[in-house]
């Protein structure tokens, strides 16, 4: 009985300062919004070739193959929901919706095999049980009651399980010797690890750190050093250049739950007092505010549509985001103006993220779509996708080169030459646009032009076999023509 009561106390008597939950919400869901937007570029691989394997075999029989437009729209809508939650709106309904959508897209295909995305799903599942404190991340006045902490305990217990098994996986002579770590670390980090005592030492330190963190994040007296070490550990992993997506950023966000509460609460209160004095814009929406709320909802959707240039999926996501924003705001009339404003802010944040000057996601969405269509033999779709690449990113030379090559392969030599010329202007040192030009002239039987372009390509890449083949062929056919008794090539 005693043990049972103690076990219950661990889970049910635990409470967390609302400021900590708000900070966690801002960081974790903020990182998630960015991650989900970045995932949009991988949407073209879904359904390509009408092939899919889900994470759970029984899902294959139930779900249709998740296709590119569904995944792109789904990711964008989820990014919007994550941004909305990060800013403090939406609450439980938005978290549940986001968790359900995330679960379908993650478990629906093994194309997403990031283990940390599975961790994100489990954290989201725990967040479904969180009682979200009222107010913004800066800490509005009121609502300072501690939040029931069992979901937070659950998240930290899950993190311990991750560390424990990650350490267990490394009890292998190949890891212990440093060989596996050496294979995965490149650049400046190699030198830093040598300074530290070598790869074998670093490999053992990683295991020790993981084991320490697995236990220390639950011990109140060790929380501060555990948080400092944990954050440094994940920042170090990120800086070392491991290809693990935004895993480190998610972990740093989760560590806000390990940091000592008092300084966070004090800082939030300090910020809240000052933010309260700022003349923040308020929607003229109370009461009743329905019209203003709807206008804000639609404006947010329109903003998303205008600045996330991925065609139909963006239209679907923008419409759903506008509907969700409007519904969330109108479902709680007293908070309608605030929710509508936060909906607008979430859309604006995503729109900013989608700008080609900030992320390459929209460009790469079309680039990957075009590339996979080309490899699977669908040249018309590939050409249409690359036309969108150069529209979205007109200064991206490789896009023009690939489009030129597709025009060449689909029998449009004039358009191919025009695109190759643009690419040559944008990337004067790149041999590929010159090679495409040489291939176009070669196919047309224009020897002098093919030879000139091939020689330009060879100047830039002397080892290119295709350029050499074209150049040698036309040089050979030119030689007899120049000789006194020569004939036509």
């Amino acid at each position: 009985m005693r043990a049972l009561r103690r076990w219950q106390r661990i889970w049910l008597d635990h409470a967390v300062a609302p400021e900590v939950v708000r900070l966690f919400r801002l960081l974790f869901f903020g990182v998630l919004a960015v991650d989900l937007w970045l995932e949009v570029e991988h949407a073209p691989r879904y359904g390509a070739g009408d092939f899919n394997v889900s994470h759970l075999p029984w899902l294959d029989g139930l779900l249709p193959v998740l296709e590119r437009p569904v995944i792109a729209a789904g990711n964008l809508l989820q990014a919007y929901l994550a941004a909305l939650i990060a800013l403090g709106a939406g609450r439980r309904a938005a978290v549940w919706a986001l968790t359900a959508l995330y679960g379908v897209t993650y478990f629906g295909s093994q194309l997403d095999s990031y283990q940390h995305h599975y961790l994100v799903f489990l954290v989201l599942l725990a967040c479904c049980g969180l009682t979200w404190p009222r107010g913004s991340a800066a800490g509005d006045a009121g609502a300072r009651e501690p939040v029931p902490g069992w979901p937070i305990r659950l998240i930290l217990a899950q993190v311990s399980i991750v560390y424990l098994f990650a350490a267990l996986a490394k009890l292998d002579p190949r890891w212990w010797s440093g060989a596996v770590l050496e294979l995965q670390v490149h650049g400046w980090a190699e030198g830093a690890i040598e300074q530290l005592g070598g790869f074998a030492t670093a490999a053992r330190l990683v295991v020790a750190t993981e084991l320490f963190l697995a236990a220390a994040i639950h011990v109140p007296a060790l929380r501060a050093p555990a948080a400092a070490l944990g954050i440094a550990f994940h920042v170090g992993i990120e800086a070392a250049g491991f290809r693990i997506g935004l895993f480190s950023y998610f972990m740093v966000a989760i560590y806000t739950l390990v940091l000592p509460e008092r300084p966070i609460a004090a800082a939030a209160r300090w910020l809240g007092e000052r933010a309260g004095r700022l003349p923040l814009p308020r929607l003229p929406g109370s009461p009743p505010g329905t019209l203003a709320t709807c206008a804000a909802a639609i404006a947010g959707g329109a903003l998303l549509l205008a600045t996330a240039p991925i065609g139909g999926p963006a239209l679907a996501a923008a419409a759903l985001a506008a509907a969700a924003g409007g519904a969330l705001a109108l479902s709680h009339r007293a908070a309608a103006p605030r929710t509508a404003l936060l909906h607008l802010a979430a859309c604006a944040a995503l729109a900013l993220l989608a700008r080609p000057s900030v992320t390459d996601t929209a460009r790469d969405y079309y680039r990957f779509w075009g590339g996979s269509s080309r490899r699977l033999g669908d040249l018309d779709t590939a050409t249409a996708a690359y036309q969108r690449v150069v529209e979205v990113a007109p200064d991206y030379a490789q896009g023009h080169t690939s489009l030129a090559n597709l025009y060449r392969r689909t029998g449009q030599p004039e358009r191919a030459l025009a695109e190759a010329n643009v690419a040559q202007r944008l990337a004067p040192d790149d041999h590929r646009p010159h090679l495409v030009e040489a291939m176009v002239h070669d196919q047309a039987g224009d020897g002098p032009a093919a030879l000139a372009a091939a020689e330009r390509a060879l100047e830039r890449a002397p080892g290119d076999t295709e350029a050499r083949r074209i150049a040698e062929r036309w040089r050979a056919s030119k030689a007899p023509a120049e000789a006194p008794a020569g004939g036509a090539p």
Partner: protein
């Protein structure tokens, strides 16, 4: 459940090498198995003509197949069988794991293409 799932990896991984390379849900970040590189070759018909995987499957699936993921290799086999009714589909799978210093990388033939995968679609 969150403990049982990763534990199940350790209980089943010795059944076959291919299962060992499926580390999903086992929290084996940066493990040695993650660094494995496999060469899957599907052979079709009596002439045992190799299939060009990139022309049949998206490169992301080919990358996963090269990590030796059994589910994906079996699904690829089923797909090839469906598209070529009446023909045999066999798999040759060779994988290489990283080695500790002083050891030679272990190269192992996991599937030798001995039998037709079409009847039950299983490795």
């Amino acid at each position: 459940m969150q403990i049982a799932l990763p534990v199940s990896y350790y209980l089943t991984r010795d059944r076959s090498r291919a299962e060992r390379y499926d580390e999903r849900f086992a929290w084996r970040m940066f493990s040695a198995e993650r660094m494995v590189r496999c060469q899957p070759v599907f052979l079709v018909g009596e002439a045992r003509t190799p299939v060009r995987l990139h022309s049949q499957f998206h490169e992301a699936w080919v990358t996963i197949a090269r990590r030796g993921r059994q589910d994906v290799l079996e699904a690829m086999a089923r797909r090839l069988c469906r598209e070529r009714p009446g023909q045999e589909v066999r798999l040759e799978l060779t994988c290489q794991e990283p080695a500790a210093p002083g050891e030679r990388p272990r190269r192992e033939v996991l599937e030798e293409g001995l039998w037709d995968l079409c009847p039950d679609g299983r490795l």
